[in-house]
Amino acid sequence: MKILEGSRAIAETINNIGPEVVSAYPITPQTHIVEDLAKLKADGLADYEYVRAESEFAAISIVEGAAAMGVRTYTATSSQGLLLMTEVLFNVAGMRLPMVLTCANRAVSAPINIWNDQQDAVTMRDSGWLMWFGEDNQEVCDLHILAYKVAEKLALPVMVNLDGFVLTHVVEPVEIESPAKIKKFLPRYKPQAVLDVKKPLTFGAFATPAHYFEIRQELHDDIVSSQKVIKSEMKKFKEIFGRQLGLIEYYGDKNAEIVIVAMGSVIGTIKDVADKLKKFGKKIGVLKVVSLRPFPDEEIIKALIKAKNIAVIDKSVSLGTEGILATEIRRALYGDKKKVVSYVMGLGGRDITEKMIEGIYSGIKKENKKVVLAGK
């Protein structure tokens, strides 16, 4: 185990995974990840081709082309950069290219703001990418290793998310897995269909109403059924690396009537609050949602079976309604009489403190609003 910056941990893990083409455009707070990858290349410590792009639209297009040629690729971005990639992100998923992208989550403009929330990623919810959120840098690195395995197995792209600054810029201990160990879990990528002038193929070809529907349906069905493959890969991951990953994780009292649901690094703070409340004899559960896509409905329903008051914390808002994870939880629990309150917090880097979490615990029973924008 080493102590290093989150961005460095990701860059080293990516290098050990061994992509053949890396292309990116720097944007805060993703910058250190791609700087480190460029430096590893410049220092002769990496085998990938590092292609400097003139924009995020170019960066994702470059890795899209490389992926279509049948090689393992990598790119990373944040905020406006992810938004600029939007059109290509949908194409990548539609063309079933097994790509992995890191999003260092950041607020979106306007007003311009470089700090952390998750509005960028959740806005891409319907792009056809699998979307995972890590709690700490160990989990983030592990999810990257898993992402390549799942992406290449299912021909689905995966976006691995981590909170910008909070995780990208924190120095903390992380086990960086070696290329040899990673290879045991993730063998050399063998593409099924590739662009080749000798055997011409068309990717993302024109589809009329006679075929488009079924192709989209297939993508939908494959995302739903990806859960099974992801879970079996998580088992293999544990056998090799010794760490347990999950689509969700439940922490705290199994019989708690109050459960707080969230994604990403804020889960760590919530777990600390849960431990503190437990000391005072108060029961609280914490549900971490790692996978927003696929959304593990059944597992979530099961995890929340005893819950009566559910607080869903979102670092994003579907403007005009509520937090996006809250909507997903409500949908999964439809027909149940549980109380679900959407707490929109942490927008644009506003700190989420333990006091704020304690406030949710003590206030949710009396809360009569469906949506609370809790800035303080």
Binding site: I3, E135, F165, V171, E172, S265, G268, T269, D351, I352
Partner: protein, 179 residues
Amino acid sequence: MKEIRIHGRGGQGSVTAAELIAQAAFYGGQFAQAFPNFGVERRGAPVTAFARLDNKFIRRRSQIYEPDYIIIQDATLVDGVDVFWGAKKGTVALINTEKSKSDFKAPIGVKIITVPATKIALEIIGKPIINTILLGAFAKLSGLISMESVGRAIRERFAGEIGDKNVAAAKRGWEIIRQ
């Protein structure tokens, strides 16, 4: 868990100081976390950085509101920034200044320790690079980090002569604290 808040000015290496504390503590067998509070990144502007040390993995991600230690890299910050905010009984504030501790008004129960780090830095390093001196002083006064771990963390970041000078500076910081 011990929580440390560092106040400095852009360019003084506040973030590096926090990272060195975390790295040194980690080399001593503890779990540690260091992170910046990025504001407007420009030289001279007040900046804050944080470090946490514990005997288990640190999950908490909020900023530090009730620090056990406050490191003030530039004494002129005391006039413009509420550097003692959230300080509690027993909080120790380490200030880089040539003034005496009676020149500072701290909340009741806060212990002030002063170190003329800029003066020492100019002597040893030849530049006003103060954070390794404060790191040595912090390691000694807190009892949380050994001088050996401080040296290792510094040498991992700064090679050769610069590393030697910074380790010497940290040692002076260590020695100046009499506890």
